[in-house]
Symmetry: C3
């Protein structure tokens, strides 16, 4: 009887350890260990808005220039940005961090971009950074890029971020909604 009770206890311990120590790692339905939603706002320099521009064309193809996005769906334009991050979709809300990095328009036929950037936080709420990379076929309603790492509060983070264009005004302003789903949290 004692042996059986021991076996049972051991078996329960075994089951428990499987289910709790590695919660979502190999399960088929993946649940994020952390989820965060932000907006960021990109105002591109067009030669006249140096006061409030947050981004600038710094690389352009032979047929382009640095103050007007190139034709052929801006193919070849490389943009550096330092954009405010807000909690809601209002450009004038208090920024909670900065989105910093580069994007390039990389297709002649339709609008598509490639992004390498970071979210940088230094507030009471969040300290640290989240790093992203990936393709942004921006004519799709939503598209996923990778969370490739993190520091500080986001130490060793991995996951995906679902981008959605929340506003697009002429060729000067756009706003992206970023739904960050981390699947590795340390």
């Amino acid at each position: 009887m004692e042996a059986k009770r021991l076996i049972l206890a051991l078996f329960l311990l075994f089951l428990l350890s499987k289910s709790s120590a590695f919660p979502s790692r190999k399960s088929r339905v993946h649940k994020p260990c952390k989820r965060l939603v932000f907006y960021f706002h990109d105002i591109i320099y067009n030669g006249k808005n140096s006061g409030n521009a947050t981004a600038a064309i710094v690389g352009a193809p032979a047929w382009g220039n640095k103050t007007i996005l190139a034709n052929q769906n801006h193919f070849g334009d490389l943009v550096v940005f330092d954009d405010p991050i807000t909690l809601d979709n209002n450009l004038h809300s208090a920024p909670v961090g900065r989105a910093q990095g580069i994007y390039v328009y990389d297709k002649k036929e339709i609008f598509t971009a490639w992004l390498g950037f970071s979210f940088v936080f230094n507030s009471t709420e969040h300290k640290g950074s989240i790093n992203f990379a990936g393709a942004d076929p921006l004519m799709n309603k939503t598209r996923d890029v990778s969370v490739i790492g993190g520091t500080g509060d986001f130490f060793m983070a991995r996951g995906i971020a679902t981008l959605m264009t929340d506003a697009f005004e002429g060729e000067v302003y756009f706003r992206l909604r970023v739904d960050i789903q981390l699947y590795e949290c340390w």
Copy 2:
């Protein structure tokens, strides 16, 4: 006897769970959980081939320009690309996806590049993206870059990709063979 049978069953279950749930994670001989081989084709814009160019110089050093790759092993040339991906080494095969991103030639003495790019798939075969980054010392027969993330069918992928220059024609066309070995599959 019953107790012994229970113990045996438990022990087998235990072994099974160890070997199957975390297959190659910490073993010394690493075996990819997924392997894929593709080719991609890069035709760089040279001022005369706008019809079929898939890439363009968008950044160049002080001594360079946007239609001729710079001297000193193209040091400083930054190229944006949207290249077709094929299953074999034929440029005219039906593309199964697009390779999109940037590369920079980053050494004066020999040809070497740094790459940040994505494979984007949207077919019945594969949906999603694989994201890559790394150094490409392209005079070596093979060289490895990192798979830093993935989305869709390649959700949370990590691994390496072995690049091989499969063809190199003048300064306009090259073809890379990409042998993707994923070691983290979700």
Copy 3:
């Protein structure tokens, strides 16, 4: 008695496997599985130092050029580099590898950069590469970027790297101390 001994052995095996197979993965206090400290040296091309420059401006905003870092804290300057890596802080020490990739200055108000680069080693000591990405708010004494992957000796590495500006001479030379802490080692 035999059954009890079996149970005990099984239990010990179980504990052992839990504690050794996944050492630091989910523990609260993270200890690097590998730590490496290097220095790298960046000499930017200014129109007169082509002999020993290791980096060049290849993208610049509308108000910038390729031989002088732009005003407004160099916002928009994109630099390609192939910098020597040394074990100590002496530029003239024998290089143990090369730091290759890009950085962009991405803020108008203060010095801040975004980095995508690799450490490339090919010596008896180390063979392979370590890939990095992240924000570099370079006015901070130390700042962390992500190790997003590795190849060769650094196969599948992940972690963080703490950057520290070890020297900064005018607008031509800087030296970074890089303290690499890997938390995933294969």
